[in-house]
C-alpha cells in the first residue's frame, strides 16, 4: 500500500503560489495590458482557492463579475493605450508615499482579520451548514443581518452610475443619435424616386452590341 497523494494540499499550494506570483507580476510588469491579464490570472487563482474552501458560490461569482465583466471592460480601456511601455515618472517618490500609506492601512485590516480573536475568514465554513448551500446562506445574511449596508452600497453604485452618465452626457451629442421610429416608419417613396422615361436610341456608330443583363 502506497501513501495517498496529497491532492488537496498540492492543488492549494499550486494555486496559492500562482496567486502570489501573478499578484507580483501585476505591479512588476511594465506593460498595462500584461498587468491587467496578470490580474485576471490572480482572480482566477483566488477563485480556485475559494472553491477549495467550499465557498463555490463566491468563487464562481468572482469569476463571473470580476473576470467576466469588470476586467473585460478594464482591458477594453487599457488596450487603447499604445504598445510602448509607460516611462517611470519623476514624481515616483510621491507614489511611494501614497503607496506606503495604503500598505499600512491594508496590513492593519489584514492583521485584524487574521487575528485569532476574530476569525472572519474561517466563518466561511459556516456556509456549509447541512442542507444550506452557499448561495442561500449569503442571500439570507445579505437580506436580513446586513440589509442596510447592502442597500447603501447599492445606492452608492446607483449614484456613481448617474454621475458617470451625467459627466459624459453632452446635449450636442444627441445629434448623432438615430431616431428609431423615423427609421422604422420610412417608406420607399421617401427615399427612392422612380422616373419614367423613354428609351433612347443606341448610337449608330458603336462597334460593340449593347449588353443586356
Amino acid at each position: 500500500m502506497l501513501n495517498a497523494f496529497p491532492t488537496t494540499l498540492v492543488v492549494f499550494y499550486a494555486f496559492a503560489a500562482l496567486l502570489i506570483a501573478s499578484a507580483f507580476m501585476v505591479i512588476l510588469s511594465r506593460h498595462p495590458v500584461q498587468s491587467a491579464l496578470y490580474l485576471v490570472l490572480a482572480f482566477f487563482a483566488s477563485a480556485a482557492l475559494w472553491i477549495m474552501m467550499q465557498a463555490e458560490f463566491l468563487g464562481l461569482i468572482l469569476i463571473l463579475v470580476y473576470v467576466g465583466a469588470v476586467m473585460t471592460l478594464f482591458l477594453f480601456v487599457v488596450m487603447t493605450i499604445p504598445m510602448h511601455t509607460i516611462p517611470i515618472d519623476k514624481t515616483r517618490l510621491l507614489y511611494i508615499g501614497y503607496g506606503s500609506l495604503v500598505l499600512v492601512l491594508f496590513l492593519g485590516v489584514m492583521a485584524k482579520i487574521i487575528h485569532p480573536l476574530n476569525h472572519i475568514v474561517f466563518q466561511l465554513n459556516n456556509f456549509q451548514a447541512p442542507g444550506i448551500s452557499g448561495a442561500t446562506a449569503i442571500g439570507e445574511s445579505l437580506y436580513t443581518t446586513y440589509v442596510f449596508p447592502f442597500e447603501i452600497a447599492g445606492f452608492l453604485l446607483l449614484v456613481a452610475i448617474i454621475a458617470a452618465i451625467s459627466l459624459s452626457w453632452k446635449t450636442d451629442r444627441r445629434k448623432i443619435i438615430n431616431d428609431v421610429s423615423a427609421q422604422v416608419n420610412v417608406k420607399a417613396k421617401d427615399r427612392l424616386k422612380i422616373v419614367k422615361m423613354k428609351a433612347e436610341k443606341p448610337q449608330q456608330d458603336s462597334t460593340e452590341p449593347v449588353q443586356h443583363d
Binding site: M1, L37, E56, G68, T72, L73, M79, S133, A135
Partner: protein
Amino acid sequence: MTNLETQIIALIWTVVKIVCIVLPLMICVAYLTYAERKVIGYMQLRIGPNRVGWFGLLQPIADAVKLLHKEIIQPTLSNHYLFAVAPILSIAPALAAWAVIPFMPNVVLADINAGVLYLFAMSSIGVYGILIAGWASNSKYPMFSAMRSAAQTISYEIAMGFAFVGVLLAAGSMNLQTIVLAQQGGIWHWYALPLFPLFIVYWISGVAETNRAPFDVAEGESEIVAGFHVEYSGMPFGIFFLAEYANMILISTITSLLFLGGWLSPFEHIPLLGKLTSFIPGIVWLLAKIAFLLFVYLWMRATFPRFRYDQIMRLGWKFLIPVALVWLCLVAVAVVVKFPPWFN
C-alpha cells in the same frame, strides 16, 4: 481508504469520462460545419458540398486535414506569447463548460450545486480569447474586432444573467439536474412556456455571445475581413473555428436544459402518445432539441442581415434587459403565490 491506487483509478476514470464527452463533441462540431453548409446551401437554392465522399460527407475531414497542413504564420510585431495563447483561451472555456451538463439522469461529469453559475462563468470568459487575439495581433482590424466583441459581450451578458435568474427562481435550485426535473410532466411544463420572454431573451443573447449572425459584427467579413482571426492561419485559426462551433452547441444544450426540459420527453403524461414513446431514451430527446436549436442558428444566419453596431446596443440595453427585468418580477410573484400549473 484513500490510497494511491484508488486515486489513480479515479483519475483514469475521470479522464475516460472526459474523452467520452469531448470526442463526440468534436465530431459534432465537424459535422455541424457540414450541416451549416448544406442547410444554408439548400436555403439559397444551392447544393452545398457534394464532392468529397458520399453526399460530401467527408468534407469536414478534408477541411481538417487541409488546415493541419497549412503553415502557421506569426506576425513579426505581434505579442508572440499572447498570440499563441489566445486560441487556447478561446477553446478551453467552451470545452470546460461541458463538465456540468447532464445528458441523462445522473449521467454528468460533475454534479455540482452551482451548475448554472459555473456555466455562466465559463460562457462569460470565452470573450478573452477574442480580446487577446485581437490585441496580440497588433493589427487594425483584429483590434476593432476585439473592441466590438468586448462591448457586445458585456451588454448581452446582463440580459443573459437575468434569464438565468428567472430559471433559478422558478426551479429554486442552481443544480442543472434539479432544474430539468422541475420541468417534469409533459411539454406544457417546460419553462419555455411560463418563462417565454426569458426564453427568447436567453436565445437572442446566446446567439450574440457566440458572435453568430446576425450579431457577427466581431467577424464582419465585409467590414473588417474576419476580425480577430485575420492574422491567424492553419490550426490556430482552426481552433477559433472549433471554439465558435463548440459554443454554438453549448448554448443550444443550455437552452434545451433550462427551457425545453432537457432529456424529458414532450409526451409525458399524455394518455396514448406517452406510452408509445416511453421506450425512447432521454438522450435522444435531448439530442433532438439540441439539433433543432442548432438548425435555428443556421436558419437565422441564412435569413437575417447583420445588425448595425448601434442596433445591437439598442436591442441589448433598451429591449432585452427591460423585458427580462419585468418578467423576473412577474416570475417572483408567481413563485410566491404558487401560481398553477407551473409553480405549485
